[in-house]
Symmetry: none
Subunit: 226 residues, 2 copies
DNA sequence: TGCTGTTTTCACAAAATATACACAAATATA
DNA sequence: TATATTTGTGTATATTTTGTGAAAACAGCA
């Protein structure tokens, strides 16, 4: 049972992508490519990656903005590639959550070493302290408990699974089909509206924090919070 | 009983030290500073710290050497700070016992998150508790005995193992599979529900303190106590 | 070997949860 | 405004999961 890690390499230079892909595949990673930030954002929306390698200087959407965009709704580690000479002033205002940096020209070996470390760190970190907080709503993933204003509330398994999924994909529009597929499983052949019923129950459980669950008419639902 | 953790921040740049101190103190840590590796080594010799944050590039004694020196006689976790361009394959290729590293420029928030994780990891590693107490329930690990309101109760070996495991992992959601794997062993190929039966027996043994064992529907069980 | 305490399986009752459905409410469309 | 579409919600029913007692399998041991 080997969990193959998926990496997305984003760079407008095809040669860089090629080299990274080569080495990463050699190391046993699954690799996909994007040519610019926009494309990367779209790809990340649709599929789960374990790591994104982002060039800073790119057409359409630069690396920083892309990173910020990605981090809005997915918690994926990001390694930045910067050309030597490119300067980043904000030493401490740097709140966009980059996990590591590599300066071009880089040795692929070094990049791979960092990839390995970052992925490992992320996965161990997630286990250590997976906790989500939105105002007075806390979700303790390890304990599988949800608190509303500090008070533990009870939830059915489906409610919890649904909430967790919504939160993991917060600020993303999620269709009923997508929810059914990912929360219920691909082998669920029931009614679309089952989702609605569970959303209803979840909202009741969340009390005042039902506000985070937004209905997207004609589409589905969304957990909306920063 | 709050054990204040002591942190030593070692960096030649005063601004870095200042920022780290600020955030760390805000988080409730006690902070001391050193300007270079030599000074750090001396301070660590004289006083016990719970964590050392080490810059790599420093005058007199660099971060690597300093870390090696520290680890010679104290088992203190170390987080490394490295500047963007610095090569640090060595850091991971060679085993000098670094617990984590953060790349400059870093967000103080991120650094604090790592500090927290590393300290907790270390302390949970070291502390092999020999006695657990939850209200009137006492588990004497060395004697392998359990007391309910001061009275020794008898338990089968499996019951004890299960209880011990639950307690060690208290407040964590534990699936039946996980329990089977860790308490019964990876080579157990029996029924899932065996767990349920043992939980039942354990609950009976614990009497009023069965309340600590919580059923997580659709998931498993959890020992819930602070 | 036969005894004894332990572990595991199993079956069924009890409880909790998931689903479908009907109708109300809200929103969009003509 | 009337009508169609979509979502919210209460309720009844179906399904799943867990608790539990008892029997069977197993293990250690005199």
């Amino acid at each position: 049972m080997i969990a193959l890690h998926k990496i997305l390499i984003v760079d407008d230079e095809i040669n860089i992508r090629k080299v990274v892909r080569e080495y990463a595949e050699f190391e046993g990673y699954e690799v996909e490519e994007a040519e610019d930030g926009m494309q990367a954002v779209e790809m990340v929306r649709e599929r789960d990656y374990d790591l994104v390698i982002l060039d800073i200087m790119m057409p359409r959407l630069d690396g920083f903005s892309c990173c910020k965009e990605i981090k809005k709704y997915k918690d994926i580690p990001v390694i930045m590639l910067s050309a030597r000479g490119e300067e980043y002033d904000k030493l401490f205002g740097f709140e966009i959550g980059i996990d590591d940096y590599v300066v071009k020209p880089f040795s692929p070996k070094e990049l791979m070493a960092r990839v390995k470390v970052v992925i490992r760190r992320k996965s161990s970190e997630q286990k250590m302290e997976e906790k989500y907080e939105f105002e007075g709503l806390t979700i303790d993933v390890l304990g599988r408990v949800v608190y509303v204003n500090g008070e533990k509330i009870s939830m059915t398994p489906k409610e919890y699974d649904l909430l967790f999924y919504l939160v993991k994909n917060r600020n993303l529009a999620l269709s009923r089909d997508k929810l059914l597929e990912d929360v219920w499983g691909y082998d669920f052949f029931g009614d679309d509206r089952t989702v609605d019923t569970h959303i209803k129950m979840l909202r009741n459980s969340l009390g005042e924090y039902r506000k985070f669950i937004v209905t997207l008419r004609g589409m589905g639902y969304k957990f909306e919070a920063d």
